[in-house]
């Protein structure tokens, strides 16, 4: 039974008198969300981000961002007496000597991995339904910046620990900086403070970037991203005749959508906590502390940077040299050129599509993937190209598990990453067109049948004398 309205009105009055927010609140409460589950995918990323913030605050209170050398004397036997950095030691202590420390640390790391998964899945939804078209190009660009910023944020996060695995990754990051044409040397020295491993201060720089600068940037961009979505309202699928470019049909935020979104937030949190409790991630005590002269086989970055290691490994051996000037050192192609190229292609896509299709109208209705065969085919081919490069990054493990030699895989993939996406482009485009054609045929058939039925009915009516 609902409470008498008087009490509720009084509460609203108290708030509105001081904030003048009642009109905004009124509009916000009845903001419409379209009736399709795919709009919740972006929310998964948002809730993973919130989990990251909450678990991150806890970790930041116990982490010691210093590379000063110390000796570990804790419960983990293989490290006892080992000389490690303060940063590494504080993470081992969080994992072994602090109640719930390991749970929160693992939840944080799983949240980071799932955060980027959600962004990528959301990006694919937005791309394949054409939601990036006018008037939402700015939202698309902000989303891309969010994606690439979160890659950097995650990389810095796990590199703070100063373990062997992430230390090797930092060396690679340094080499990619150095490989930037002309300015790479000074750029690397500027950020690291000195040749690798850089000044001890570099740890502190990563820390500030990871716990303050980048989260602030991410939070701001997420805020702008959501505000722009709300300002232009969500796009929608054309489910029936009511859904048009002008009219949005959907479920209001309150009371329909809010509990659903809250439930999703808790589901995401529950999933991440479950992973954090039950599945081990980044066991830094098994890798050991980092020293520049140590390395381990099977070193991989976190999954969202796997496309870069694949590209770095696929490249043939050459530096672009002009005279004695090394214009483009080898790691540039796989480590910087490749991701920047992907970012560029995705960023300009809305405008390229506008140019190529001549469609300059604003769109609030979404395409089904089959409604835009060329876009869908291009998306599949382009993402397929990135995906194949990503898969090659694990080729050494494939060799260990299934015996297909690394050298064979290398030669096969060097060809496959070009041939397969090209084939996929034509295949998918054909598939989309076939699906569209079959729908048209279906529609024609129904119309013909309806006509035939009508004619039949008229004949029947004529045959019977009118009473």
């Amino acid at each position: 039974m609902s409470a008498p309205p008087a009490r509720r009105t009084a509460a609203a009055a108290i708030v509105d008198e001081r904030t003048s927010s009642a009109p905004a609140l009124r509009k916000a409460l009845r903001y419409l969300f379209p009736d399709h589950w795919s709009f919740l995918l972006g929310e998964i990323a948002l809730y993973a981000f919130i989990t990251l913030i909450l678990t991150g605050i806890y970790l930041a209170l116990f982490f010691h961002p210093s590379l000063a050398k110390t000796v570990y004397h804790g419960p983990y036997a293989p490290l006892r007496g080992a000389q490690v950095s303060e940063a590494y030691k504080s993470v081992i202590e969080i994992s072994f000597s602090q109640k719930a420390g390991l749970l929160i640390r693992q939840t944080h790391h799983w949240a980071a991995d799932v955060f980027v998964v959600a962004i990528v899945v959301h990006l694919m939804r937005v791309f394949f339904t054409g939601a990036f078209r006018k008037p939402r190009e700015l939202i698309w660009l902000i989303g891309l910046i969010l994606l690439f910023t979160s890659l950097l944020e995650g990389y810095l996060g796990y590199s703070l620990v100063d373990d062997l695995l992430s230390g090797m990754g930092l060396a690679i990051g340094y080499s990619v900086l150095l490989s930037v044409p002309i300015i790479g040397g000074p750029l690397g020295l500027l950020l690291f403070g000195a040749p690798f491993p850089g000044k001890d201060l570099f740890e502190s720089r990563m820390y500030i970037a990871h716990v303050f600068l980048l989260p602030a940037l991410l939070a701001t961009l997420i805020g702008v991203h959501l505000a722009l979505v709300a300002a232009r309202h969500h796009t929608q699928f054309r489910r029936d005749r009511r859904h048009t470019e002008r009219k949005l049909v959907g479920v209001p935020l309150f009371p329909g959508q809010a509990p659903r979104s809250l439930a999703l937030m808790l589901v995401v949190a529950a999933a991440l906590l479950l992973l954090g409790g039950l599945v081990q991630i980044n066991p830094v005590w098994q890798w050991g502390p980092y020293e520049p002269w140590l390395a381990s086989n099977g070193a991989q970055p976190d999954w969202y940077l796997g496309w870069l290691i694949g590209a770095l490994r696929l490249m043939p051996s050459f530096d672009v040299v002009i005279g004695h000037y090394t214009l483009v050192p080898n790691p540039f192609w796989g480590g910087a050129g490749f991701p920047l190229f992907v970012l560029l292609v995705l960023a300009v896509f809305p405008w390229v599509e506008r140019r190529l299709t001549g469609d300059r109208l604003a769109h609030n209705l979404l395409d089904r993937p089959r409604d835009a065969p060329t876009r869908t085919a291009f998306g599949v081919a382009f993402l397929g190209w990135v995906f194949l490069i990503f898969v090659f990054g694990a080729a050494d493990r494939v060799y260990v598990l299934w015996g297909i030699s690394y050298e064979t895989l290398l030669n096969v993939f060097r060809v496959a990453i070009w041939v397969l996406p090209l084939g996929a482009f034509f295949l998918v485009r054909r598939l989309c067109r076939e699906l569209q054609a079959s729908e048209r045929i279906e529609l024609e058939r129904e119309r013909a049948e309806a006509e035939a039925a009508q004619v039949e009915a008229e004949l029947q009516a004529q045959a019977r004398p009118v009473v």
């Binding site: 690397g188 959907g250 329909g256 509990p259 439930a263 080898n330 050298e407």
Partner: protein, 345 residues
């Protein structure tokens, strides 16, 4: 008053409340939804009234209670075990289940206990009037200015200069156009090689078929110019580049341990047991599998590295220990613009 009187009074009030509620709902049950709402309020409803689902309400309540139970379980497990014995799985399962039950309760709440309306609304329209007004306001505000280009030009100069000035302190993060540190290594002619524990590396100890990590006796080990990988090759197998004939006494070779591709430690060495069917000795980097041939001066035989591994010339001193006979054949570590412009120093 005695406690019994208090209890009796409370019981009467409670029973009276329950009876009254039953009476009200019995009255409502006979009426249509519209009549009940008309009874309660004369105002317009924004959210339509939907029939209640009392069974679901109980289920939601139970789920919420379970959620609370598991959350309490989390606190109990947290308090009960010491840090060393705390089972991560139990802790994680408790809190995850608690959140999951509350999530389930919310989902049921959303599906069954609140109305899910489907409303229509216009998309926000263009605002050509306001766009024009904005443009007009800006234009007319600027109509007083006569030297527009002068002000814009000087404004950009001021803004640009101020921006650069704000960024200037960033340049102190590290050396800027000064890339000399990239060439520096701690090795000098005569620097003695030591192993991980600081003992001098004797030439007699270096055997074929294995590889050794060495450091300069003095200097920062963490500098990437410091670590070496030392191997021994049958002198007749050596095919070193010109001018390096004396760099490998007794076939003992020293190379920088830092890969010239992306800076990982070249910590793999393969040595053939049976050269007839097995590949030649090679130093391999585990990051992207750049493979270097020690017998030919560290040249790249597989993988993406663009530069051979820098070689350190060796000499054997009077005590039989290995010493550097100079600096590396090239700068150590990953390549940059000027890597072929200078020598390691």
């Amino acid at each position: 008053m005695s406690i019994w009187r208090w209890l009796a009074g409370a019981a009467v009030l409670l029973i009276g409340r329950i009876l009254r509620r039953r009476r009200v709902s019995r009255e409502d049950a006979g009426k249509s939804p519209r009549e009940t709402s008309a009874d309660r309020t004369q105002e317009r409803r924004n959210v339509p009234e939907w029939a209640p689902a009392r069974g679901t309400e109980l289920v939601v309540a139970v789920l919420l209670l379970l959620g609370g139970l598991f959350a309490a379980g989390f606190v109990v497990v947290y308090a009960e075990f010491s840090a060393a014995k705390l089972p991560n799985e139990l802790l994680g399962a408790c809190i995850a289940l608690s959140v999951a039950f509350i999530a389930l309760a919310l989902a049921l709440f959303a599906h069954r206990l609140v109305p899910t309306e489907e409303l229509e609304e216009d998309y926000p329209q263009e605002h050509p009037e306001e766009q024009r007004e904005v443009a007009e306001i800006v234009a007319s505000a600027g109509s007083r200015i006569t030297r527009r280009r002068l002000l814009l030009g000087t404004g950009s100069i001021a803004g640009g200069a101020l921006g650069l000035a704000t960024l200037a302190p960033v340049l102190s993060l590290g050396p800027l156009w000064y890339t000399a540190p990239l060439f520096r290594t701690p090795w000098r002619r005569g620097t003695r090689l030591v192993d991980e524990s600081g003992r001098p590396l004797s030439a007699a100890v270096i055997q074929e078929g294995s590889y050794y990590t060495a450091f300069p006796e003095r200097g920062d080990r963490e500098n990437i110019g410091a670590p070496l990988v030392v191997v021994r090759v049958e002198p007749s197998q050596l095919r070193l580049p010109a001018g390096r004939a004396a760099w490998a006494p007794l076939g003992i070779l020293a190379y920088s341990k830092i890969c010239t591709h992306a800076g990982c430690a070249v910590a793999l060495y393969r040595k053939p047991t049976f050269r007839v069917v097995e590949p030649e000795p090679a130093l391999v980097c585990p990051c992207h599998y750049s493979t270097f041939n020690p017998a030919t001066g560290g040249s790249v035989i597989f993988g993406p590295a663009g530069r051979p591994l820098p070689q350190l010339p060796l000499m054997i001193d009077a005590a039989g220990n290995l010493r550097a006979a100079g600096n590396f054949s090239g700068p150590v570590g990953p390549s940059w613009w000027g890597v072929r412009l200078g020598r390691a120093r």
